[in-house]
Assembly symmetry: C2
Homo-oligomer: 423 residues x 2
């Protein structure tokens, strides 16, 4: 990968290099409506301003596409128009291009400090499906939730197991999470109380760009034409609520209270240099689910945690997990093929999440229940505090990135702080 | 209940009496966009035309509320404004009111033959949750899917078990259902093939009108202020796909290919005379889920079936089930309280379904898998054809109604015909 130099000041190892250029939706004091923006270094490129300034050239772009407060209309056009859009922006930002660089009046219009905008949900989300595609995670959860049987059920290697979640409670990074209430067993008695086992789950989410009609199945080869891109996803989970409710129809209130995403949609074009082979699949899946080409993505993932006391003491967050997205058994392309294998339609803005990304070692697990083995081996924080599950005031940060230096393609971060239960 | 007479010709035992006045969204040749309509006898009352003709009087109604092609904006206002709207329409249609009756020019504008319009989805649907609230149904399915254990799991009487389903594949009555493909066990081998066990599920669905904010739990007492009304729901299910996929995270592709609703939203105001006590709950649920007042609704429900051969032979559909919605263990109010008990927000247009409505006797079961006990006791149709599950060409009709004569409040019907699998 050789990435052209930019006239924009991009810090070394920024998530948002010229190789990335992820899309988002931002609001800002003084803007009458949300704008479509692209992250670059410490700035965002304001697509609405660029369109008004005729900087987007001969892109066949309807202005209304950028005026809806979401990325839906832009990405509904499919992969090629978005690729062209992103290439045009890359061109404008290259050192050897003067169209924008030399127009100081326009630069101040179009290049907005990232610190001055507030990122919103990138898409109006349709259906949301959460998968369960890490073999290490599914094995760990199986051992804890069903200790009497095989940790992996017979379907797990035959299809990407997943379930629909609540799309209306997906929120952008930075939103606080209130400890939920629900029905839990208290000394064997079902009791409505606040969760005592609040957890995070490290995941990577995928938005659908171009939808598909009822009856149309998307092949693994064609999946790339239907996805908008990737974000980080924290699937907050109340383990005690989950334990009591989840049989036989799956998780519901244990997860529906809130889920958090990073706001920058990193395109498949951007991560293409980091596509790698997925783990070998044995048995070979049924034909519609078979992998096509390199479906895994070499995304480094990290989770860090800080307690209120750590922050008061001036201590940095402590890294509690380090793993890689490429270890997932089922890929985003196989997941999309599976969602549509029965002829179900998809809509622009549909969202699906990978399932918790866990490696095989405890320091690569993607959830606290795995790291602490349901509290048996609590984490010890630098303050001496112990953590079986999340406590009020804790803040969870997840980061993800491919590559390094000027070639780095980062997903940014998804963070959230735990507030006490309401009332 | 005493219902005023109407100047509109309403057939005896019509679902759409002056006591009902359900809301829907219709398209019609010659209309440039969908209209909000109210069913009355063989007509629909065209709310957009009535507003244009100043017939809605001093209702505080923004015209744009009716111009969005869905009921979302109208019902987002909450129960009271919709009640006033419906009362005003009832007033205009009463025999003793001449405002519309005597204006033949307006009557032809506003009263449109029901046969000339096409009903659409009433709401833009947000999240969809399917419950499992019939004790007889959950017991039957438990016996068949988990023969080794208790048919009802420990959580079943403690909370209304439910899961999120796919909102993007909910379609209006009359839409054909293609037999889905999926992964099923064929002599023990996971195989991608068309479902051989396609089934229906008789349910009643509830739309959310006034939404609720993140962190706000809706009490059973307040649920009435948050619901728009009721429809019939056919939760088509592929039992063979379900059997292989559903553990541990619940049903997904077995149901996501299509779900059908009746198009008329029958308000709580309309069914209020038919509210009755629900079955006694033992154990008493936790406080936020406890029943408030009469939460069950005395809705008669019927399912009828016809095969292609029956229709070719001029035979009427045969009734295969007759049951009553009032037998559900958990009510719509308890379900809404449960959905929000963890602080999850709700949006106008969110949809939740009761779960299959089954009585205790085989002729009151709400699905074929129960009636035929997974095919062990096939139905015999008047043509001599046998049915373990649905065959291509079969048509399923579900009807629901409260009361009779001029007081009848009917939900209309949801129907769909099975087409062969694609390709």
């Amino acid at each position: 990968v050789t990435v052209a130099a930019s006239w924009v000041d991009i810090p070394n190892d920024s998530d948002f290099t010229l190789a990335n250029l992820p899309f988002g939706i931002a609001t800002k004091h003084g803007w009458s409506s949300p704008h479509v923006v692209i992250a670059v270094g410490r700035y965002v490129f304001d697509c609405n301003a660029a369109l008004d300034s005729d900087l987007l050239g001969d892109l066949d772009l309807n202005a209304s596409t950028l005026a809806t407060g979401s990325l839906n209309e832009l990405f509904a056009q499919g992969r090629e128009p978005v690729s062209s859009f992103r290439c045009r922006v890359a061109e404008l930002l290259r050192s050897d291009n003067t169209e924008l660089q030399d127009r100081l009046d326009l630069v101040t219009e179009v290049m907005v400090p990232r610190s001055s905008v507030t990122m919103q949900l990138p898409f109006v989300i349709g259906d949301y499906v959460d998968f369960y595609s890490s073999e290490a995670h599914a094995t760990n959860l199986g051992k804890m939730f069903r200790p009497q049987g095989d940790p992996l059920l017979p379907n797990w290697k035959q299809l990407p197991v997943g379930y629909h979640g609540r799309s209306g409670t997906i929120v952008p990074s930075g939103t606080d999470v209130c400890r939920p209430r629900g029905i839990v067993l208290d000394e064997g008695i079902p009791t409505y109380s606040q969760s005592k086992m609040l957890d995070f789950e490290l995941e990577v989410g995928t938005f659908v760009g171009l939808g598909s009609a009822l009856g149309e199945s998307i092949s693994t080869a064609d999946a790339a034409n239907h996805i908008a891109g990737f974000v980080l996803f924290n699937d907050w989970t109340a383990r005690d609520i989950q334990t009591f409710e989840y049989q036989p129809l799956g998780p519901n209130l244990a997860k529906s209270f809130l889920s958090s995403i990073s706001p920058w949609v990193v395109t498949l074009d951007a991560v293409e240099p980091y596509l790698v082979h997925q783990p070998r699949q044995d048995p070979l899946p049924v034909r519609p689910l078979r992998a096509h080409g390199n479906g895994a993505i070499d995304i480094h993932l990290e989770v860090s945690l800080s307690s209120a006391l750590m922050r008061e003491s001036g201590l940095n967050p402590v890294r509690v997990s380090k793993t890689n997205f490429s270890e997932m058994y089922w890929t985003w392309a196989q997941q999309l093929a599976h969602i549509t294998a029965n002829g179900a339609s998809t809509r622009t803005g549909d969202f699906y999440a990978s399932g918790t990304v866990s490696g095989t070692e405890p320091d690569s697990y993607g959830s606290l229940i795995e790291m602490t083995w349901r509290g048996e081996r609590p984490l010890v924080l630098p303050t001496g505090e112990v953590r079986a599950f999340l406590e009020d005031g804790d803040e969870v940060n997840m980061r993800g990135w491919c590559g390094k230096g000027p070639e780095r393609v980062g997903l940014g971060k998804v963070s959230g702080r735990v507030l006490p239960a309401r009332e």
